[in-house]
Symmetry: C2
Subunit: 310 residues, 2 copies
């Protein structure tokens, strides 16, 4: 059943479909009925858990796990709703008052057309959980975060390497400009070493967020010129031109300004983040090393992660 | 910061708020800015992972992990959208064609008001992933499933024991009437034993789905009379009158009819499920045994789970 079912899910490219079919046939995945999503087997999830453990940083306890939703107001303040409105998923529901006033049966007549925004959106980027926690504050020292959860992007296509619902592990630093930039570079190096230790052939690319549309060429080229974003890129399937497994970003004072975060004696806070695409890394490992984990390099757990891995 | 931040999140009852504040202050949780949700610390997540391992059934490999969204059409066919429309969360987004036609900048002017249903909803119940996989088929033997993921219910209140976004581990059997009922009873006994082995004081209650509104008294009383639903109930905080940690349900032929699933030689398939509320069980364990896991009974992993735990 499983392999045949995959064909009911529209997938972007023929190669993706073959790759997904193959993953299903050998037991890494189960066909999902939701376009742009995959259900993962216990074996795949074990690898995700091992990755979470190896990604734990000795400086910060292993990740805080956030639910898949967050306030729209926080996404708006971060500037996401303005820049990437086309990728945002909003949770709409029947207004409680409508349900109460009309009684459930009558309201059901209107169905989903009567739904209204709840003020909650699916998480577009993990680090958006962080800045609101420090909003309108002056901090006295750098703040570090290590978090994980599901992200959602309302992608137009359904590529295996660009799922709509996927998990991210992310570290964030809020600090002075110098500290944030230095941390971004150090984290990028460490991430590259970690992925190469797992036997992955990654190349480093100076990147721009792929979502910038035709009206945002300036933002795109500015991001490239200023070397704000670097991606560690590898292949998820044979004909894959390259998919980012991790992304290291220096945001300058973008979020510090948006959330009014200052550092004592240093003005507006700067920030940087390092994000790992967990499903993408596992897919790259499978592509590189095959289906038998006994043939893979070990995925080692750090001391921190052994205390608190997920 | 953390303990104080909790007060910005509206919570249903004063006792819940105290309980959540306490969980945050001792490191089990981190204040979330989304009403009705909690962000969990690495220590809490480790306990969730251990629970997943102990809940693995030797008969079926450990859970398939589904993304937090599913097709609206499947929820409609299951009857959820009709019965519990008030609890359903729909993913609305900017229609791709609108974004393409108007250009992103113009469309952004309309903001979230221009969003329309995407055909995808947040998962209201894990087992809804299962029936569509067998829809319009005749199966020759009983089908078992073991799955996990995030559920969402658009709750009106924000109680600690009734979160909007929470994780469920669920086993499902699709089989003949006799087999489904016998399995439900056996699973209920096993679940009760397992929770008691973890040192939890659980009582078994004949229950009805709590969502039936005033217009649905008949459904509610029929469910109670026919003993279709049993809950294993315990306390999550001192004044908690009782919260269901697990629920064992016999659906009769409800889903077999809705999804046109037949069993060879036995007509329409019947089904049953056993669901565990993962956060609730951890909260009950903390309430019963305190904050130091060294004082808890061991949470043992099964042979199956050691091969494929998440």
């Amino acid at each position: 059943m499983s392999a045949r079912q995959a064909s009911t899910v529209p997938v972007g490219l023929a190669d993706d479909l073959n790759a997904l079919d193959r993953l299903i046939s050998v037991g890494w995945a189960v066909a999902s009925r939701t376009a742009g999503t995959v259900a993962w087997s216990a074996a795949f999830e074990q690898t995700i858990a091992d990755l979470q453990a190896t990604l734990s940083d000795d400086q910060v306890p292993a990740p805080v796990w956030y639910p898949p939703i967050m306030p729209l107001a926080d996404a708006e303040r971060a500037g996401y709703a303005e820049s990437f409105l086309n990728l945002l998923g909003s949770v709409h529901a029947l207004p409680h008052q409508v349900a109460a006033d009309l009684g459930l049966r009558s309201a059901a007549g209107g169905g989903i057309d009567a739904f209204a925004p709840t003020g909650v959106v699916l998480i577009p980027a993990m680090c958006y959980h962080v800045y609101p926690q420090l909003a309108d504050q002056t901090i006295t020292e750098a703040a570090r975060f290590d978090l994980s959860g599901y992200c959602y992007r309302n992608e137009r296509t359904n590529e295996l390497g660009r799922l709509r619902a996927y998990r991210v592990r992310e570290r964030v630093l809020i600090a002075t400009a110098d500290a944030a930039l230095a941390w971004r570079d150090e984290q990028l190096s460490r991430a590259r070493r970690l992925l190469r230790d797992l036997g992955l052939q990654v190349r480093t690319e100076n990147a721009a967020d792929p979502f910038f549309g035709p009206g945002q060429r300036l933002m795109r080229s500015a991001q490239l010129e200023q070397k704000l974003k670097f991606e560690l890129v590898s292949r998820l399937y044979d004909s894959d031109p390259g998919t980012a497994l991790a992304s290291a970003n220096y945001h300058k004072d973008h979020f510090g300004l948006a959330f009014d975060i200052a550092i004592e004696g240093a003005g507006t806070a700067h920030s940087a983040c390092l994000g790992f695409g967990l499903e993408r890394i596992v897919l790259a490992l499978i592509h590189e090393h095959g289906d038998d984990r006994r043939n893979w390099p070990q995925i080692p757990a750090t001391a921190t992660s052994r205390r608190g891995q997920i």
